[in-house]
Symmetry: C3
Subunit: 303 residues, 3 copies
């Protein structure tokens, strides 16, 4: 319990040790367990802030869940509700996703949602991860990821759901599906999303080795579309959005659906089996042991 509480604030499913380590060395993860526990129970502190500009039709979604925007159940629930509201608002045509946390876009799935939890909790969590992916990958809005920090694992997945990815050109940041490095397996729809982005062979290498790419490498393999200086990520996203919104909307939406529907259908028609598969895998003794070792390593680094 002490361990879990102590780690709660930085237990992202990331494997991005250098990133987390660098965060901690700058003191940004020094949130006391008590504060974190309060935040968990306190739904008045939003993890997502949405700025919607009626004049442009563009919403900017700021992820602001300290320290590293871990994708917890609460975070995902809030994010999905936010996306759904915008999706139903006909005046909102574009969505830019970015982070308010320094140095990190999102560190990915919250490992504490998977460690020492009941099968039911794990299943509920996984359903929320699916929901996030389904909502974003099939969005009728133009979606742009303004990746202003590291984006491992689930953070990379979230970026890949977008129509366009602009990343801060900071060599200390990294992006990739690095689950394998933690002894976990990226599920088939993570894999499919990456395959649609960078092709089969690059995906094979990336997933087997759990590779994290720096921005230049990510641009080279097509994992992101554009690099800009860190302070220009959001303005470039806004300019790019203007270009995309000039495209006839109905035709663009049908085209997007045509490109993505087969991949989306694979999950929607196998959603329950995918949840059971995940729960069965994550609750294995060997996997729980891997997660514990990982959490202990994080704790040591923090100490």
């Amino acid at each position: 319990m002490t361990l879990r509480a102590a780690l709660r604030s930085k237990s992202a499913f990331s494997g991005l040790l250098s990133q987390l380590s660098s965060c901690s060395s700058h003191g940004r993860v020094c949130v006391s367990p008590v504060l974190v526990a309060q935040r968990r129970n306190n739904s008045t502190s939003p993890k997502i802030k949405v700025d919607f500009d009626q004049s442009t039709g563009v919403a900017v979604m700021h992820m602001q869940s300290p320290p590293v925007n871990s994708l917890s159940l609460d975070f995902l629930t809030e994010l999905c509700i936010g996306v759904e509201k915008l999706e139903m608002d006909k005046s909102c045509r574009g969505l830019i996703i970015t982070s308010s946390q320094p140095k990190v876009f999102s560190a990915g799935l919250d490992i504490l949602e998977m460690y020492g939890k009941s099968p039911e909790s794990c299943g509920e969590f996984w359903k929320a991860v699916q929901e996030m992916w389904l909502k974003l990958y099939s969005s009728n809005m133009v979606t742009i990821a303004a990746i202003n920090g590291s984006s491992p694992a689930g953070g990379c997945l979230m970026s890949m759901t977008c129509d366009y990815r602009i990343m801060a050109d900071n060599p200390r940041y990294s992006i990739g599906l690095n689950e394998t490095q933690l002894g976990i397996v990226a599920p088939f729809w993570f894999k499919d999303t990456m395959l649609n982005t960078v092709g089969h062979r690059t995906t094979e290498l990336a997933l087997e080795l759990g590779l994290l790419y720096n921005p230049s490498e990510a641009l080279k393999i097509g994992l992101v579309d554009k690099l800009v200086p860190e302070d220009q990520v959001l303005t470039t996203a806004a300019q790019t959005m203007t270009k995309w919104l000039a495209i006839p909307e109905h035709a663009r939406q049908i085209t997007k659906s045509m490109m993505r529907k087969p991949t989306i259908d694979k999950l929607t028609s196998n959603r329950e089996a995918d949840i059971q598969n995940f729960v069965k895998f994550i609750t294995k003794d060997s996997i729980q042991k891997s997660l514990r070792m990982y959490l202990e390593m994080l704790k040591k680094r923090k100490a």
Copy 2:
């Protein structure tokens, strides 16, 4: 009627406004409505000229339908008959497709075949577009596109059906499936053909934004295979053809079929549904309105 007649000669389904504008500024589209109407009814003026060299086994198909080789029903019918004749002639082993019109390979589908037409006419037209694609994409001949001008939309599709694409290295030319820019959607088999050529992510970007690429960009993404100075496009095509014809023919044909059959089967087994889908879409009020606005814009530019 006046509008339609006036635009008949340049109403290609292209969206290549700069291209068409540049054509018109050079006076090449100043064909009077009367003349055009006559040409339509005059089947003695062939839109396609085929030069077949018995000694090499190579046919060169010149598209010569002023001003921009729009793919009208008549044009497509003539082209399909021409390809079929060559396909059945055992002595013809290679086909080079090129344009006799200055600055344009083909401006794509003739928009007047889709604007203000009956569902029956639209369906008949679409069937001819399918037929062109099926004949070229499954041809047993070696097919090489000698792209000596701009090649938007249907012109790009035609190029992509070939085994090899050589483009004139003129930065004023462009190529791409830009349907979305016109508010129209490239159907799944256009998409599949592009996907087989440049991969999933590039296709997604290209189709969602309706991108047209200049020759250098097209080479970089693999949309064309080689750039040469404009006056060398045909000779390079002939030299390339010689190389291809040196490959054992039966093995090459089986290999080509193995690569393309799944894509071809998807259309042949859904052909009628695809026609109905197109007719239902194109006859919508909103789409007809888009087309009318586009035609009016062309008219203004011409004026």
Copy 3:
């Protein structure tokens, strides 16, 4: 008989004439028919040598079947038994495949197993080719190809089954699926393996033209992953293996299976039909004639 015996030692299904020619000019193929016949019947002369290092968990498989490691039935049988033994040995986690023959990794399928043979023999041979591919492409071990020489046709296939490919940076070496050049067709699972490695369009060009790539070209299209000086191929393979073995094993294996299972399933569920298809094709008079002409050309070059 004299022809077949004379050619037995170099009748690889390669089409790599320059390679074979260069071999013969250096005298390495001057094995007398008698000696070759003896080797065939002498199972005490192993075609594969396996060095397994218990301390690292890595096995190095040296192909040592003079002159060019042709994939004969005997060779394939020995290779499959070797791989299966390692696969079942839990202490063996990595496999490096390399050649003990100078200038060649493997020249591919042994053409004499397909020329002038009964349908039964051809079928037995093809089953062994399938078995080699299935065993290597689905291996739970980390597999690295240390390509220290030319690797046409079946040699290229074997390389592509590995997780990683390191090739000697010698411009005289080449790699590719060049079957079409011989009038033969690479079957669908050769095609699928290449497609998973270099994508659709590159595969289409490579297979239709039967292209062989020099190391720089192979690196550029992604057919190999790394080039190093010839004397560093094995040490680089060992270093790379260390990196791969540091990845959590279970997660890596599941990920590999997820990437490759659909491709493997296509063959396992069509194995008998694929054999019959091959036998029917290869025993055709026209194909046998092509093979004979090819063998005679090899004989002339040798003379």
